[in-house]
């Protein structure tokens, strides 16, 4: 290639430019780092200034929004108030859910609010001080930016609008939504941002920090912020990351460009195995490069790339996250797919019979490989379950989160790849055995052989994958899929069936391994229950005490003498105790030992000895002894010293016993969520037994065992690992039980049991995944349609497609309507059930309170407490607006629940006089239902509140159950409908399609077409009429041709006679003249003789010319030789047969081949050859177009009956035919045409297994 042609090739220029850019980026990085080093002071100053500006503008943005909202709200309220009561303003304030709005009457206090009021206990001074100014305000668990304004009504009304800036705690839960301005700014600026929401905050003097004041809309100081000055090495790292990202992208493009440039080279490879190997190798290289350059995982941080969702160390981590797994699978899929296509072409063209021993060898090898692939699939699905925190059957959602969806996609692709691979192997066996549809015995034999080998294969394995039933299902599916494809060769339908089979198979395996992991979770639970070593607990408690001394929230609450419980809660959420879900109590005491506040989880009390306060000068942990070993408690206390003095004490109690861990759990809405194996089984379903000296001493989750069951459990012998697995009855239901021996004296055991039915494969579980898979399969089909965009218009305008869509539409629309209806119905039913049960609870409480409050004169709170214990119901009582009592007062004090009644309830029950209200409420992101019942047991309005969050019994239908039922069943029905619609549409439209094709053929002059239709009715009449019409047309054409021929002959005879007559007359006259001259013995005889013979010769010449002209008239028309595209001509010729339902494989090179020939005659030749193949009863026809030594080579290969050896030499002769209706002109004309363009045609090979006809024509440029 010379330089001119190189530079004119844009692809090569781009390649060079990209390489240069790649090199420059590497050099530039060092340069930028050097510059940064030199100018660091200026850069730092600029960065800090930018950061300060960003922080202040973030706060100003919040402030301006607050001012604007307040202004709008004030205007609305001012318009509404003259005509309405304050209580009528609830509608206005409730519309602003993003802000906390509260209205206070200067005399009567709170009059209107939209959520838990912040300033309820504040006096008017703070409000008057801040009128029209924004200011920070901290209340319980939140820090707000607030604004106070006033309204002119009968009296002065304060309106306070606040927006939360910081949530001062973080729950280790999946659904916890963090809210923190400082965290957001830290992430934005990539440095630590600390905001002090206090007008008295002092600027930091730490040289490593940049500190500045925050001013409000009146330019008054309301707080201070400080940021960590970015370090130079961090800046270097940032630059490096930026450059490596750019280099990765450049490199990726470079790889793609190189692959693109290699395309012609790959296309030119003739050997298919080499070509496939090169393509596969290139794909593997691209995948490995993507992995090494961490594209895209290195640039994404979400659940898709999170190793905790799924990760495996397989192949050095090439599937280390759901996304990497997906990318790897896509590459493998493409490689297998190309292999599948190559394989099909190879076998379609393969004519040779396999020898008997080779057949057996192929059968053995294929079966072994199929079983190995099955084992690989099983191991992969096992990894998908065990190396993942996703609980596929537990975490069902109609719209799943991205990582769950992707893992479901991965599972489907994995199954698909394995089935495709195994199908190739089974097809290999079928091809070797030359299976036929008439004889199913070889097929049955292959199935039997596969199943027996599968059984033996599992028998010789230590740990077989899946169950025997799944293995049987797998082998059966593979053989049936292969057989379907072997008979039909319909790729798209085969792929749909394979996808559905993959889904069924992978879900079965998934379910099996899920039950394994559920079994495993029994073991984990038993170990969890017994591994709370008191040393570790003491250590955790000690660490908690030590860290409390530096806890800002605790210091602040002690300094401000307020919000003790929220401070303790905030600290609890930061502690290891919370992360470990250990039942606990946190308390704060004053200097004199007075209890200031506490926070406890599920009734853990602090049993503190008062003497501890006197003696404690440092963190101290003690074990509080108890008569019952199971009631032991660890208690710790530490003085809290700051600002040079003792400010109080922090105490912490941990219940150290197995029961505490088994039942007294941290409430679900607070508990830190543990992923992985421990979450495989719902803990509520477990039954736990503690056994000491071979006697059950305690049990949880079951009312008790009968004698036989108890003896059975108590007498279990453990193995050398101190564990045992057994299946036994508990309450007459079969359970799987794990028993673990523990304790230093070795006489204690814990047994964890789970009902066997809970881990069995359930149809509902199957639908959870199948629903997602079915959506994916449909999405794939739609995408596939888009890839055939060329046929798009034709496809959508076809009668069959329209019919299919109409059928799907007609059947799916009512289905979807019914599905949505049922979804809403089940939602409302769920709410109804909750409403009924909670109302029942509220009525029980009301009845109890009426009975006991009227009888006794004791303090109401004591009666409320007694009601909680006696009825075992948690509830709250509101008097007018404020909370009077709550069985979980703890959470109200902290601020997790409101201390003022929900404004909607107030409006409905107090203002509008409703007796009861049912509401959907939230604490953090946890949804729950509440019933508020107005009661008249006391004077004045009193409201009883009961919710399903704090009452353990769950009575609403689990949220996913209706979704599961509806969407699982409906998705299955929808798939069935689509399949049925497609089949029906195909059946209905098939005769019409045949007629259309036949009409096309008739239009192009082929009158040998017959439409076969076995159905009856109008369509049958139509096809029969069409066939008759074509028959008639053919007859008429023959008659017409005959008539034309007769006329032509007559005309020609006339012309010939006329033409012949013309020379005959002079010839006759000449001969007469010659005879007369001879008789007269004329002297001029010689002269006359010469003249006459001359005339005769000239007239004979005329007669010869007439004969030549006549001969020319009967010749074939002159061919129209032009440059034609062979790919196109052959493709169009084949399409005529394909449209007619005939399956013909056409293999052609990517590069188009051009020859000089007559387009029509070439097309006629191909059609002729294919028709010959069909007439030779071939069911496998393929046309192969290749180029070799400047010749285009067309091979028409069939598996028909072949040519009789005696006839081979004569097939190209004129008028030679073995067909009853043939003329014997097709091949002879083809030969003439091909030879006319300097080509050759020959029978390359023929046998009873098939024939190959080869045409060679010189290629033109």
């Amino acid at each position: 290639m010379n330089s001119k042609s190189f530079f004119s090739n844009k692809k090569f220029v781009l390649l060079v430019l990209m390489i240069i850019a790649f090199l420059i980026s590497a050099l530039l990085e060092q340069r930028v780092i050097e510059n940064t080093k030199i100018n660091w002071d200026n850069i730092l100053s600029e960065n800090l200034s930018n950061a300060e500006e960003k922080i202040l503008s973030a706060i100003h943005f919040k402030s301006n929004s607050l001012i604007e909202t307040t202004k709008i709200l004030k205007s609305k309220l001012n318009r509404a108030l003259p005509k309405n009561e304050i209580s009528d303003c609830f509608d206005i304030v409730n519309n602003q859910r993003d802000y906390t709005i509260e209205l206070y009457d200067e005399n009567d206090g709170l009059v209107c609010w939209n959520t838990d009021p912040i300033f309820l206990n504040e006096n008017n001074d703070i409000l008057n001080r801040n009128i029209d100014q924004t200011f920070f305000y901290k209340k319980q668990l939140f820090t707000y930016l607030s604004l106070v304004d006033t309204l002119k009504y009968l009296r002065k009304i304060y309106i306070i609008v606040s927006v939360p800036l910081e949530k001062n705690y973080k729950l280790a839960k999946d659904n916890f939504r963090n809210l923190s301005l400082s965290d957001s700014l830290s992430a934005l600026l990539s440095t630590s941002v600390d905001i002090e929401y206090d007008q008295n905050a002092v600027l930091s003097k730490d040289g490593r920090k940049h500190s500045f004041n925050i001013l409000n809309n009146y330019k008054n100081k309301i707080g201070a912020a400080s940021i960590d000055k970015p370090a130079l090495d961090s800046e270097f790292k940032k630059i490096s990351n930026l450059f490596s990202a750019a280099q990765s992208i450049l490199f990726l493009f470079l790889v793609f460009l190189i692959v693109y440039l290699l395309k012609p080279f790959i296309s030119s490879i003739q050997n298919k195995i080499v070509k496939y190997s090169v393509v596969s190798f290139l794909l593997l290289i691209i995948r490995i490069l993507l992995f090494l350059f961490e594209i895209p995982s290195g640039y994404l941080t979400n659940d898709l790339t999170n190793a905790s969702s799924f990760s495996s160390v397989f192949a050095l981590g090439i599937i280390r996250s759901p996304l990497e797994f997906f990318i790897t699978l896509v590459f493998v899929f493409v490689i297998i797919w190309i292999g599948f296509i190559y394989f099909l072409n190879y076998f379609v063209n393969r004519q040779n019979r396999t020898r008997r021993w080779n057949k057996i060898l192929i059968l053995f090898i294929s079966t072994f490989l199929v079983l190995l692939i099955y084992r690989g699939l099983g191991a992969s699905i096992r990894s998908v379950v065990f190396d993942s925190t996703i609980r596929y059957f537990k975490e069902f959602a109609v719209i799943p989160s991205a990582h769950i969806l992707l893992m479901n996609v991965n599972i489907l692709i994995l199954g698909f790849i394995c089935l495709l691979l195994t199908t190739i192997l089974v097809l290999w066996v079928f091809e070797s055995f030359k299976l036929s549809s008439e004889n199913i015995i070889p097929l049955a034999g292959i199935i039997l052989f596969g199943q027996v080998t599968g059984f033996l294969f599992d028998l010789f394995q230590k740990q077989p994958q899946g169950t025997p039933l799944i293995r049987i299902l797998f082998l059966l599916l593979v053989i049936l899929l292969a057989y379907y494809f072997y008979k039909t060769k319909t790729k798209i339908v085969f792929f749909i069936y394979t996808a559905i089979a993959s889904s069924i198979l992978t879900i079965s395996l998934l379910s099996y391994y899920n039950s394994e992991i559920e079994r495993e979770s029994l073991k984990t639970t038993a170990h969890e229950l017994t591994n709370s070593d008191s040393d570790i607990l003491k250590f955790i408690l000690y660490q908690t005490l030590v860290n409390s001394q530096d806890e800002d929230e605790i210091k602040r609450s002690l300094t401000n003498h307020s919000d003790y419980a929220p401070a303790l809660f905030t600290y609890w959420t930061k502690s290891l105790i919370y992360k470990e879900n250990i039942p606990t109590n946190f308390s704060l005491y004053g200097k004199e030992g007075k209890l200031l506040g506490s926070f406890s989880t599920n009734g853990v009390s602090d049993s503190l000895d008062k003497e501890l306060f006197v003696s404690t000068i440092k963190p101290e942990v003690k074990v509080v002894p108890s008569t019952f070993e199971s009631k032991r408690k660890l208690v710790g206390i530490t003085p809290l010293r700051f600002n040079g003095s003792n400010n109080g004490y922090f105490a912490c109690s941990i219940e150290h016993n197995l029961e505490a861990q088994a039942i007294k759990k941290v409430p679900a809405f607070l508990a830190s969520s543990r992923a992985g194996i421990s979450s495989a089984t719902d803990i509520e379903k477990l039954k736990i037994f503690f056994i000491k000296d071979d006697k059950i001493i305690n049990s949880f989750g079951t009312p008790g065992l009968n004698q036989n069951e108890a003896v059975n459990l108590e007498s279990v012998n453990v193995n050398e690992r101190n564990e045992a697995w057994l299946n036994a009855n508990i309450n007459r239901e079969e359970h799987i039980i794990y028993v673990l021996k523990y304790g230093r004296d070795g006489n204690q055991k814990v047994a964890v049991a789970l009902e066997l039915s809970a881990i069995a494969l359930r149809l509902s579980n199957f639908f959870k995944i199948f629903f997602i898979h079915s959506i994916l399969i449909m999405a794939f089909l739609i995408l596939y349609s888009f890839t055939n965009i060329k046929k798009w218009k034709e496809y959508f305008s076809s009668y069959r497609t329209k019919l299919t869509f109409v059928l799907i539409l007609v059947s799916a629309v009512p289905l979807i309507v019914i599905a949505v209806y049922f979804r809403n119905l089940s939602d409302s039913r769920s709410k109804e059930i909750s409403n009924e049960r909670l109302t029942e609870y509220a009525l029980q409480i009301e009845s109890y309170l009426k009975r006991y409050l009227n009888l006794s004169s004791v303090d109401n709170r004591l009666v409320y407490g007694k009601a909680v214990n006696d009825l075992n119901i948690n509830f709250s009582i509101y008097g007018d607006k404020k909370l009077i009592f709550s069985s979980k007062d703890n959470y109200h004090q902290v601020g997790l629940f409101n201390s003022v009644i929900n404004p909607i309830v107030y409006q409905r029950c107090i203002v509008n006089g409703s007796e009861k209200t049912f509401l959907e409420e939230f604490t953090d992101q946890t949804k729950y239902f509440s019933v508020y019942k107005v009661s008249d047991y006391a004077s004045g309005p009193t409201i009883i509140e009961v919710n399903n969050l704090l009452n353990k019994s769950s009575f609403s239908i689990a949220d996913d159950e209706p979704d599961l039922f509806l969407f699982g069943i409906f998705s299955l029905v929808l798939i069935i409908l689509i399949i049925l619609s497609t089949i029906f549409a195909r059946q209905i439209s098939s005769p019409i399609n045949k007629l259309t094709m036949a009409t096309k053929s008739v239009g192009s002059g082929d009158l040998n077409v017959i439409v076969v239709n076995k159905s009856s009715g109008e369509i049958a009449e139509l096809t029969s009429g069409f066939n008759k019409m074509v028959e008639q047309l053919k007859k008429s054409q023959i008659e017409l041709a005959q008539l034309e021929r007769e006329i032509a002959w007559k005309e020609m005879a006339k012309q010939v006679a006329h033409e012949i007559k013309n020379p005959l007359t002079p010839m006759k006259l000449s001969v007469q003249q010659l005879v007369a001259s001879y008789n007269d013995k004329s002297k001029k005889f010689d002269e006359i003789f010469h003249k006459v013979t001359s005339t005769l010769l000239s007239q004979i010449e005329i007669l010869r010319n007439i004969a030549v002209e006549f001969s020319n008239f009967a010749r074939m028309p002159k061919p129209n030789i032009e440059r034609i595209d062979l790919n196109d001509v052959i493709g169009k010729a084949i399409s005529l047969f394909i449209d007619d339902g005939q399956k013909i494989n056409f293999e052609f090179p990517a590069k188009r081949i051009f020859v000089n020939a007559d387009n029509d005659q070439m097309s006629r030749t191909i059609i002729n050859l294919i028709r010959n193949s069909i007439q030779a009863n071939a069911n496998k026809i393929s046309v192969e177009l290749t180029s070799s030594n400047s010749f285009a080579v067309v091979r028409v290969i069939d598996n028909g009956e072949g040519i009789n050896p005696g006839n081979i030499a004569r097939v190209f002769d004129d008028n030679f035919t073995t067909k009853t209706k043939g003329m014997g002109l097709g091949l002879s004309m083809a030969k003439k045409f091909i030879e006319a363009v300097d080509g050759t045609i020959e029978i390359e090979k023929t046998s009873p297994e098939g024939t190959t006809v080869t045409i060679k024509i010189p290629i033109t440029d």
Partner: protein, 138 residues
């Protein structure tokens, strides 16, 4: 068998048991040192071979739960690639207990934001080998 012989055998048995216990403790101590080195340098490969097939991880980034050894490797590796260790040292190692444990402080740099986290690690004995049963970086 005379009394002296019984005493000698008893003594030897006692020494063997104590020595075995001591060897076991030393193994635990060695493992903690490897973990310390690994966390200090951000190189998980130094102790990844000791993950139990069910290790409990609770990390600063919110990850919490039981993970397989495969997952534990990448969960910790990814964590350390984001929370890049500046320094780490155990402040407390307890090995003479059923489940040896150690605690220390990890100083890290998270995308320019420096911070500290308390690290708490426990071991468990599986088939006479110490395995990591819990890593808490809080």
């Amino acid at each position: 068998m005379n009394k002296n012989k019984i005493q000698i055998i008893f003594f030897l048995l006692l020494v063997t048991v104590l020595f075995a216990q001591d060897a076991k403790d030393r193994e635990a101590q060695k493992l903690f040192i490897k973990i310390e080195e690994g966390l200090n340098s951000g190189s998980i490969d130094k102790f990844s071979g000791y993950f139990n097939n069910r290790s409990y991880l609770s990390l600063l980034n919110g990850t919490s739960g039981y993970f397989s050894s495969n997952q534990s490797y990448y969960v910790i590796k990814d964590f350390l690639s984001v929370y890049k260790p500046i320094s780490f040292k155990f402040t407390n190692i307890v090995i003479d207990t059923g489940n040896p444990f150690a605690a220390g402080t990890l100083k890290f740099n998270n995308n320019g934001i420096r911070g500290t986290a308390a690290v708490f690690i426990t071991l468990t004995n599986i088939n006479d080998e110490w395995r990591l049963s819990q890593i808490t970086i809080n």
